[in-house]
Symmetry: C2
Subunit: 193 residues, 2 copies
């Protein structure tokens, strides 16, 4: 296997984004994450704030998702997903890179150059991390994590028809809380070289 | 994390047993697999053939499992699981090692020295492997795999109350079909050193 395009799915607070950036640096390839937002906004004609809020989450859960559909069952979120598919395919076509989130593993699944990675950690480790990274809020960190998990999971399942976090969907899954971010980045870089 | 005891859960036909042996060799530690059968038989007083057939599978599925219970809801399979817990805990207490299957990840989960690994591969790769390893049978290899998956899954869920193959239960999961057995063994040995 000579994987050159790494897709990183991750639980909120697992440090997956940081691991992706570290692996990209080791590999000397671009890492697409926030950069994707601008490109998806441009491709879809949707405003950036909407893309940011909805490109990985089913906002408000299943009910609000179905409520937003028009007569043909079509929604803004579907437009967004189409634009996302186009942008992610373009990134992959441009060559080796690391792509964070946004169902890239599914969008690129027929591309043999892809190494599909999932990063997770225990609730305890993730709670520690979000408090140190994003600060305390009135909302309990465990509650924030549960809400975010729920939205990402619903989004992934809706567009991929797969179980979020099922090992079978990935070449590699890593517990960043137990193994450490640096070790995770090393393993990814080793496999993607 | 200084993991010294590696537990390997694996899909049938994924090469997980071979990977475990290769990793143990790299680490210079014992690998417990078939050896466990004798020890569990001795500990439980059950015959070896019964242990072999039932130490990872719910034989015949849920119905036969519930049918085998006595008035108190107790079954031979529970005796077996208790003996298995004792033997696996003894192996871990004796020092660094690799343990294949038998819910060792769950049995040893409070032990901080443990590195929990899950090995899987696509149906296609596993079908190729079981035919090359165990030969053709009248039964289609994909059907054989599905039956075995079902039994292992039921067994794991029954005794651990967890989802089989859920990334969250492991420190590391690897697609041996995509990555190759040698690479999988290397990563495990690297993390367990």
């Amino acid at each position: 296997m000579s994987a050159k395009i790494v897709t990183i799915s991750r639980q909120f607070g697992s440090g997956g984004r940081t691991i992706g950036r570290m692996a990209a640096e080791k590999l000397g390839v671009p890492c697409y994450d926030q950069e994707l937002i601008d490109r998806i906004a441009e491709e879809s004609g949707l405003v950036k704030a909407y893309v940011e809020e909805n490109s990985e989450n089913v906002a408000g859960g299943w009910l609000s998702f179905t409520a937003g559909r028009d007569f043909y069952g079509h929604s803004l979120q579907d437009d967004l997903f189409r634009a996302q598919t186009k942008v992610i395919s373009d990134c992959a076509a441009a060559g080796p890179c690391v792509i964070i989130g946004r169902c890239a593993d599914y969008i690129l699944e027929d591309d043999e150059r892809v190494l599909k990675v999932f990063i997770h950690a225990s609730m305890e480790k993730r709670a520690e991390r979000i408090v140190s990274q994003y600060g305390e809020t009135a909302d309990d960190p465990v509650h924030r994590l549960r809400e975010k998990d729920k939205k990402r999971k619903a989004y992934y399942q809706l567009y991929t028809d797969r179980k979020w976090g099922d090992a079978a969907n990935y070449h590699l899954t890593l517990d960043s809380g137990a193994l450490g971010l640096e070790t995770c980045a090393e393993i990814i870089a080793m496999l993607a070289k």
